[in-house]
């Protein structure tokens, strides 16, 4: 052990502000880092070899429409009559009045505006169907749809959506007879297109060939119940602390426990503005974490909770500092 001293003393400042002039001990920072790196590398390699990592295969519109065709059709009907989750979402996807969440009178969602506009009728149904080649029946159905007034289109779509929802198992073959216009043909062809895999590509490539924005296919899939059923089976539901879980029994984002916690308790769990409120609370708490040194009371907690006496027990034992 060596000891050093500085000829300058700063009695005007608190001890912790002064450069340390007391006893020192040899401490090899580089050696410590190299050993730490080796330990972490070996530990990581062992954990990866023993436990691997989860990889539950992704859903596609194709797998969804083949595994749960009735759910796909019912969801498509809501996209066509404008009652789906996406169609009524509000900013940043649609201009739906009063859909945006608020914190008190302030709606940051509304202020940010519609930056990713989505028209579910056009983007999820009509545009993909117009790309289907050599289908006279579909062409006639689309012609009938385009030739009808907006009110007539809405009447057809809403009636079919309602009838499909009431049909046993949402089975289109068991839909009560009614005036649905070209809607059954259009949605039937959309199902065929989805099952062939064509809808996945059609939704992804509407903007350009080199597309990486999966917003439309993901929102379409999320409007149905199949994705949620799969997620809940993997204990990923919102009321299952899902945001911090992983598929299988793997550790997920455990550090999101506080964010996830708020969704489990009232008033957040029952509020229509839950997302905005939780984000507001977490923003305040995050700022408080960053500003701990400046918050009276909070910054004094370490003095009241004597964990530091455990951390520095060797120093206190040897120095005689007993307060």
């Amino acid at each position: 052990m060596t000891t050093t001293a500085s000829p300058r003393r700063h009695h005007a400042h608190a001890p912790e502000e002064q450069k340390w002039t007391g006893r020192v001990r040899e401490y090899d920072l580089v050696k410590e880092f190299v050993i730490a790196l080796a330990v972490v590398a070996v530990l990581t390699a062992a954990l990866a070899a023993i436990f691997s990592s989860p990889d539950v295969k992704q859903l596609t519109l194709s797998t969804w429409s083949r595994s749960a065709p009735n759910d796909f059709l019912l969801t498509s009907a809501t996209e066509l009559d404008g009652t789906s989750g996406t169609a009524t979402y509000g900013a940043p996807y649609t201009h739906t009045p009063d859909a945006a969440q608020k914190i008190g009178p302030v709606s940051l969602q509304h202020i940010a505006g519609v930056t990713h506009p989505i028209n579910t009728v056009q983007d999820f149904v009509l545009v993909p169907l117009t790309g289907v080649p050599a289908d006279p029946t579909l062409s006639a159905a689309l012609g009938a749809w385009q030739g009808a007034s907006a009110a007539q289109q809405q009447t057809w779509a809403a009636a079919y959506d309602d009838a499909l929802a009431k049909a046993p198992d949402n089975d289109p073959a068991k839909v009560a007879s009614g005036s649905y216009g070209p809607v059954p043909v259009m949605l039937g062809r959309l199902l065929t297109l989805a099952q062939s895999g064509g809808l996945d590509g059609a939704l992804l490539s509407q903007k350009q060939f080199f597309a990486t924005d999966y917003t439309k296919p993901l929102l379409f899939i999320a409007d149905g119940s199949y994705l949620e059923d799969r997620a809940r089976a993997e204990h990923l539901g919102g009321d299952q602390w899902g945001m911090m879980n992983e598929t299988g029994s793997y550790p997920g984002q455990a550090w999101l426990w506080l964010y996830t916690f708020w969704y489990q308790v009232s008033p957040f769990s029952t509020s229509g503005n839950a997302d905005a409120l939780v984000w507001g609370v977490m923003a305040v708490l995050s700022l408080a974490l960053v500003l701990v040194p400046f918050i009276p009371g909070v910054r004094s907690i370490p003095k009241w909770v004597p964990v530091h006496r455990l951390i520095w027990r060797d120093y206190y034992r040897g120095s005689g500092a007993t307060r």
Partner: protein, 214 residues
Amino acid sequence: MTAPTTPHTWTGKVRARALRELPPDQLLPETQPVYVASWIYVFGVLTLAAFLVVLVSGGVLGLKGRTWWHRSSTGHYFNSLHLWSVELFMAFMVIHLWGKFFMAAWRGKRAMTWVTGAVCFLGSIGTAFTGYLIQSNLDSQWISTQAKDGLNAAGIGAFFNVTDFGQMLMWHIALLPLIVGVLIGVHIIQVRRRGVVPPMEIDLRDRVPEQVTP
């Protein structure tokens, strides 16, 4: 031998300032105050070590492309390395953070050390979150479609679109690691510049030098 002169170039002034604020023996000292003797001090360097393993494993995944780990057992192993190194990184950092909290490590003009560390923690959460978004599997589909609601409600989703794979990939492999890496560098420089915070209720006899070196 010429007498030392005051630097007049920008380069010279930057060098002089850097040497004055953080001389080499303070940047990489061979001794530490006697109170730096606890296992809690190890978690800072463990966090840094885990960060490097995260960068290397993630770098390999990035170099091989986004679908590699789904179709290659070697790729899957590298994904596992990335996952577990992130879990260790976050665990070490949380322990480090709580340790520093109970040491009140912001004392003695060290507030910026705490602030940069806390921002590192929050930035790391964001970085890990974007990593979960770009797994391109069921988990990432579910997380993105759920997380969009919170981000949209806060107005953030208008420009930070969690369902845009390309945008999230860039945030995860370029922007956020760069920000976190720079913050970690600043944090470490702050630690070295101010020194390790001394214990509360310090024994003032320790302020009296036992031996003065010439």
